[in-house]
Amino acid sequence: MNHDHYADAYIRAILEGVRTIAMVGASANAARPSYFVMKYLSERGYTVFPINPGQAGNVVAGLTFHARLADVPEPIDMVDVFRAPEAVPGVLDEVLALSPLPKVLWTQLGVRHDEAAARAEAAGLQVVMNRCPKIEYGRLSGEIGWTGVNSRTLSARKPALLGKGLQRLSISRGPKAP
């Protein structure tokens, strides 16, 4: 599939479909995107497993780090890769060794590896590259517009508030809201 451009429906189906996300290259440093993307997704209702051998066993923002994908105690729906592009094939090897197989391989902004993507797709995974799930969630929920970003979405349906916080929206819309 074409990885230069993704339709909203493709991204939305992935973000609505997955519940557990393993984040390879997650950080314990609060100034790093690999920390606050993990925290943001956790606050939006996903079960997030940070993966970083140097942090294994540590609990950060309420989330327990694991050394390797194979150590995660639950089935993983999506693997989000916060590593340099050349590390993606190695991560993919670990992903493909998991059972059950994750449904989605996602690589962060600036991270793209077309050969690995083709291999993941051949194994039946959906692939998103060079995107940030936090930005995509914020774009589809409308939260990103609070910062003046062009969400490239239009909707006349009322957005759904998420949880107890008022400054938090869900990607669900109108009558379909929980």
Binding site: N130, W146, V149, P159, A160
Partner: protein, 435 residues
């Protein structure tokens, strides 16, 4: 990274009129209010301490304080970004504030930028005087001589600044040609698109990296609110060199965060907000944002009517015995007509100048004799506006300097409104009779 925030249904991109009404706005999640509410508040309650920390660290989306973000202003920002085809925008207190924040984000003391000589007089003043006191040095170039931009490039050059249609003289700038110079020099191209508006021209398609607006003019369109907007095209690679440290280097203000790495193709808009607006403070009032936003809903309709009326008025004046010359790029035979046909197929806008055979005296008599036209120093109003620069805005200049600035003694500037064109022409006609 160029495609990062592009989503949407590929098969069906919304048209301009749809974006002008809808982009950036959604029903209020708590009350269901359909029009964008005016969030007339300084501050926003945090969900909890953790949420506050995340907001201050730029780690989550949300509002803290209206100097930095405000939900009404944010709808305006998202909408202008959508209309210009940019990734994000920042709304500020005025067009001048927009320019200040753009250059603050790009330049450090001792740097240079190249600017077209054919600019709004207020911008020429800002660049020559206020910016010099910050150590940001303007180097002027001639938009009719593209090579003059190339010759002006030095190792200190950090940006190029032009107006798409220059105020007041109806100069149409060859944006694509100047974009090629900027790309070769490795610097961003900043385009002031105030006079054209994105309805008539979207300079990002011709290579602009940053677009700015005085929203006071056609975006708001009703002469009721001062405001400015900065649009990030998302096209410039801030990390290709270390020349733009606000974007490419760890920021001590935010615990070492690198804005380009974190925010990708909308990093410039974020930098202008959190390192510019936050610290320098020219925030837009949410009430003004609401009025400008309401104006934008009819932007396409108005610009169409403005341009039709203006072409008719310019045609009438060109044939009038008391008129020496008319400078409107929409007129066949005008110096800029070829560029207007290429860049402005929907119309050449509403602002132009013309010269009276009777010189200074005739100019003064004309502005004194008009009834429907308002004699004032603004443009881009629903109402028709007139000014005689030599006796007002350019009064202090010598005759030679007036002429060089396109404000010679015989020059009159019009901003043609959206009234019935027969009334506009009749209004000018009766005043010209008395000149």
């Amino acid at each position: 990274m160029d495609d990062q925030t592009q989503g949407g249904d590929i098969a069906r991109e919304p048209g301009f009129a749809t974006l002008a009404v809808h982009a950036g706005a959604q029903p209020d999640p708590t009350t269901g209010a359909r029009a964008t509410p005016i969030y007339q508040t300084t501050s926003f309650v945090f969900d909890d301490v953790d949420h506050a920390a995340a907001l201050f660290g730029l780690q989550t989306f949300g509002n803290i304080y209206s100097r930095i973000t405000n939900p009404t202003n944010a709808v305006l920002e998202s909408r202008v970004a959508a209309l210009e085809g940019g990734t994000a925008a920042l709304a500020v207190a005025s067009g001048h504030a927009a320019q200040h924040l753009v250059f603050h984000t790009l330049l450090t003391p001792g740097d240079e930028f190249i600017a077209s000589r054919k600019l709004y007089g207020g911008s020429i003043n800002q660049f020559n005087h206020a910016f010099k006191s910050f150590g940001w040095n303007v180097v002027w170039a001639d938009p009719d001589d593209i090579e003059s931009f190339e010759r002006a490039v030095t190792p200190k050059t950090k940006a190029i600044f032009i107006e798409s249609i220059a105020n007041p003289g109806g100069v149409v700038t060859d944006v694509a040609a100047i974009s090629a110079v900027a790309k070769k020099a490795g610097v961003p191209l900043i385009v002031d698109n105030t006079l054209a508006t994105p309805y008539l021209w979207q300079p990002i398609k011709d290579g602009a990296d940053i677009v700015i607006h005085s929203a006071t003019k056609f975006l708001g369109g009703h002469g009721n609110s001062i405001g400015g907007v900065i649009v990030d095209a998302g096209t410039f690679d801030w990390s290709a060199t270390d020349r733009y440290p606000f974007l490419s280097q760890p920021r001590p203000e935010y615990s070492g965060m690198v804005l380009h790495e974190t925010f990708g193709n909308f990093a410039f808009a974020i930098a202008a907000r959190v390192l510019g607006l936050r610290d320098l403070g020219p925030a837009l009032s949410p009430f003004n944002a609401f009025l400008i936003l309401t104006g934008i809903e009819t932007l396409g309709l108005r610009m169409q009517r403005h341009s039709e009326n203006t072409l008719a008025v310019a045609t009438y004046l060109a044939a009038h015995p008391k008129v020496e010359w008319v400078s409107y790029p929409g007129l066949a035979g005008d110096k800029y007509n070829a560029l207007a046909q290429r860049y402005l197929p929907k119309g050449a806008g509403a602002v132009f100048t013309f010269g009276l055979k009777g010189g200074y005296e005739a100019g003064v008599n004309l502005v004194s004799g008009v009834d429907l036209f308002s004699h004032l120093a603004n443009i881009g109003d629903t109402r028709s506006l007139i000014i005689h620069p030599a006796s007002t805005t350019h009064r202090q200049l010598s005759d030679e300097a007036k002429t060089a600035a396109g404000a010679g003694p015989e020059v009159v500037r019009l901003s043609v409104g959206i009234e019935d064109v027969a009334d506009i022409i009749a209004g000018l006609d009766q005043a010209l009779d008395k000149v």
